[in-house]
């Protein structure tokens, strides 16, 4: 318990908690956005993230280990996954909008199964790793705690993307239409908006962010089968705590989750996953629609 009083240790935990939180936010924001507008919990979001990581790994092999090479890999992975998302929405998902929730969930679960095996088939089962881009490979000293540049980059990227989403949703005409679609799809269609292509656009955007976060995670986590399911469970907890469909709620949920994991280890060394699920259950019991969400009937 002496660690509890050691400021360097606590600072280190804070850094790791914030990094986890911001990573989760990148992926969970797409999950939350899809639920907010399309009213579907997309379990395959984690699969898109995994595919992004694999494409990024594959691309760094081709483009080389330079910073530009890494940037290229990230861009190609994000765009590739966005195209894949568009195909899935156009060819399959759109036929599920009118079905019951259970069937929608089973549909996205079917995609999880198919994508996970497809990745094993294409990229094998051995873990792959991507080296950090040289420009972000170093670290600096922050009051005696080693702070990798890459972590700082992620911690800054999270709020930047949250702000970007906020501007998109609240300060642009597209955003107004997206918010309208979340409230009443039929009325929006009657007013002359092409709701069907709006849905495709939203899904492509969310897929883009899934691919982006997968590509960005590749230098700090190994790219392995199973990373899809691991992340989707975490992202799911985050959006349920924060409130499905709420962007700021997702940010709050990510922070709660990341910090619980980082500091929970001090209090219950063996029960950090347990703590996350308990928080999720308590939030569902007290405020089923999440801390910052709105009740959906």
């Amino acid at each position: 318990m002496s660690e509890l009083l050691d400021p360097f240790f606590l600072l280190g935990q804070l850094r790791s908690g914030l990094t986890t939180a911001m990573f989760l936010f990148l992926i969970a924001s797409g999950l939350s956005l899809i639920f907010g507008v399309l009213k579907i919990i997309n379990f395959a979001h984690g699969s898109l993230y995994m595919i992004g990581a694999y494409i990024a790994w594959n691309m760094t092999l081709i483009l080389g280990r330079t910073s530009i090479g890494f940037l290229g890999a990230v861009v190609i992975a994000s765009l590739g996954v966005a195209v894949l998302g568009g195909l899935v929405e156009r060819l399959l998902l759109r036929y599920m909008y009118k079905r019951e929730e259970l069937y929608q969930l089973l549909f996205t679960y079917a995609l999880v199964l198919i994508f996970s095996d497809a990745c094993k088939y294409i990229w094998g089962t051995q873990p792959h790793s991507v080296s950090r881009p040289p420009i972000l490979a170093g670290s600096f000293d922050f009051y005696g705690v080693r702070f990798p540049h890459y972590d700082l980059f992620i911690i800054l990227l999270g709020p930047a993307i949250a702000f970007g989403f906020w501007v998109l949703l609240n300060r642009t005409s597209h955003g107004r239409i997206i918010r309208a679609a979340a409230l009443d799809r039929e009325m929006l269609g009657a007013l002359g908006t092409n709701v069907s292509s709006l849905y495709t656009g939203m899904f492509v955007l969310a897929a883009f962010f899934a691919g982006l976060s997968g590509a960005l995670v590749s230098p700090i986590k190994s790219v392995v089968p199973g990373m899809d399911v691991e992340i989707i469970i975490e992202a799911f907890i985050v959006v349920v705590i924060g409130g499905l469909g709420s962007l700021w709620g997702t940010l709050l949920g990510s922070l709660i989750y990341g910090l619980t994991l980082a500091f929970g280890i001090l209090i219950f060394p063996r029960f950090s996953i347990f703590a996350a699920f308990v928080i999720m259950a308590v939030v569902l019991i007290v405020r089923p629609w999440g801390l910052m969400g709105r009740p959906v009937k």
């Binding site: 919990i41 399959l92 036929y95 599920m96 079905r99 929730e101 259970l102 069937y103 969930l105 089973l106 549909f107 679960y109 079917a110 995609l111 999880v112 199964l113 198919i114 996970s116 095996d117 497809a118 094993k120 088939y121 469970i233 349920v240 063996r270 029960f271 996953i273 347990f274 699920f277 308990v278 999720m280 259950a281 569902l284 019991i285 089923p288 629609w289 959906v296 009937k297």
Partner: protein, 328 residues
């Protein structure tokens, strides 16, 4: 049910039971193994359908009660030396009790939130089983669950001379048949009718004075109990209990079985369990990409057979009867 068809009615349930009882006569341990697996999962999936098809609740954490039953039964038998039958029943009681506690919170929520909370509770159960090394054996699982002493089977000619796995199949078949019969009684009872009313229109059920939440809670607990009984048998069959029994893919698996068979028919879940287990065995012998195949089966089911296999067969029979000019 009535009229000209009555003479032709065959007690299919009994025929099926007797046919299943003949499986060990094939003399293959492999067939008996598969049959035991199917029977246990038929029971598990039927318990899920008490919620899904009968009451219209969609739980994502049904495996929790299966796992609790498995752990309770195994721990009672191995650590506490309790004989099989009481240990097995305690497993069921354990499942029902936890389902009662968790269900108390879950039935307060509607649709998607109900599903999410059942999943959260199941994950909590999983995390505890995964970490509580002293009792559950933690990540390593709880191995070497003893076989029940099946001395009473010795008195039956031929059966008494069989290997232990064939005997365990008979034990499983009898207990599962009793459990499934009990569930059928529940579904067809006045209590079961009210559950179906709640499924079709919960608001109207409330209007006529039904305590909807109480009914949902009772059936949730019952379903948990039967899942626990299935889990107890599975722990022995598997010769060990592992945290995976409670993990969410197990819940997804049983959900898929139930829907594959068809939720609007009592025997749908059993048919789904049989199809999925046999298909799994068959496909795994050809390719390691079983999840891929399962994903394709799911897509086929969602886009092609919305009523499940039994629903589709039922539809075909009805259509052929209309074609022949009989009654639908």
């Amino acid at each position: 049910m009535k009229g000209p068809n009555r003479a032709k009615r065959i007690p299919w349930t009994l025929v099926l039971f007797l046919a299943a009882a003949l499986i060990p006569t094939l003399g293959s341990r492999y067939y008996t193994f598969l049959a035991t697996d199917v029977v246990i999962f038929a029971m598990f999936a039927t318990s899920l359908n008490l919620l899904l098809g009968v009451t219209g609740l969609v739980p994502f954490g049904h495996a929790a009660y299966f796992g609790i039953g498995a752990y309770v039964c195994a721990i009672f038998m191995k650590d506490l030396g309790v004989p099989f039958l009481p240990a097995w029943l305690f497993g069921g009681v354990g499942g029902a009790l936890f389902a009662l506690i968790f269900g108390f919170f879950c039935v307060r929520l509607t649709s998607i939130y109900f599903s999410m909370l059942t999943m959260a509770f199941a994950q909590i159960v999983w995390a505890i089983c995964f970490k509580w090394n002293d009792v559950t054996g933690g990540e390593q699982g709880y191995p070497n669950v003893p076989m029940p002493s099946m001395a009473w089977l010795e008195w039956i000619p031929w059966v008494g001379d069989l290997r232990i796995d064939h005997k365990f199949f008979y034990l499983t078949l009898i207990l599962a048949a009793l459990s499934i019969a009990a569930m059928r009684r529940i579904v067809n009872s006045p209590f079961g009718r009210i559950l179906t009313t709640i499924r079709d229109n919960a608001e109207r059920a409330q209007f006529i004075g039904t305590n909807v939440r109480l009914y949902q809670l009772i059936v949730f607990s019952l379903a948990g109990g039967f899942a626990g009984l299935a889990g107890g048998l599975f722990g022995i069959f598997n010769r060990g209990v592992f945290p995976d029994f409670c993990y969410w893919p197990k819940s997804a698996e049983v959900l898929i079985m139930t829907i594959l068979g068809g939720i609007h028919h009592f025997w749908g879940p059993s048919v789904g369990a049989a199809i999925l287990i046999l298909l799994n065995q068959y496909i795994v012998s050809y390719t390691e990409y079983w999840p891929f195949v399962l994903g394709l089966i799911l897509l086929l089911l969602l886009f092609g057979l919305p009523g499940g296999v039994v629903g589709a067969i039922d539809g075909l029979i009805r259509r052929s009867r209309t074609l022949v000019g009989g009654r639908g």
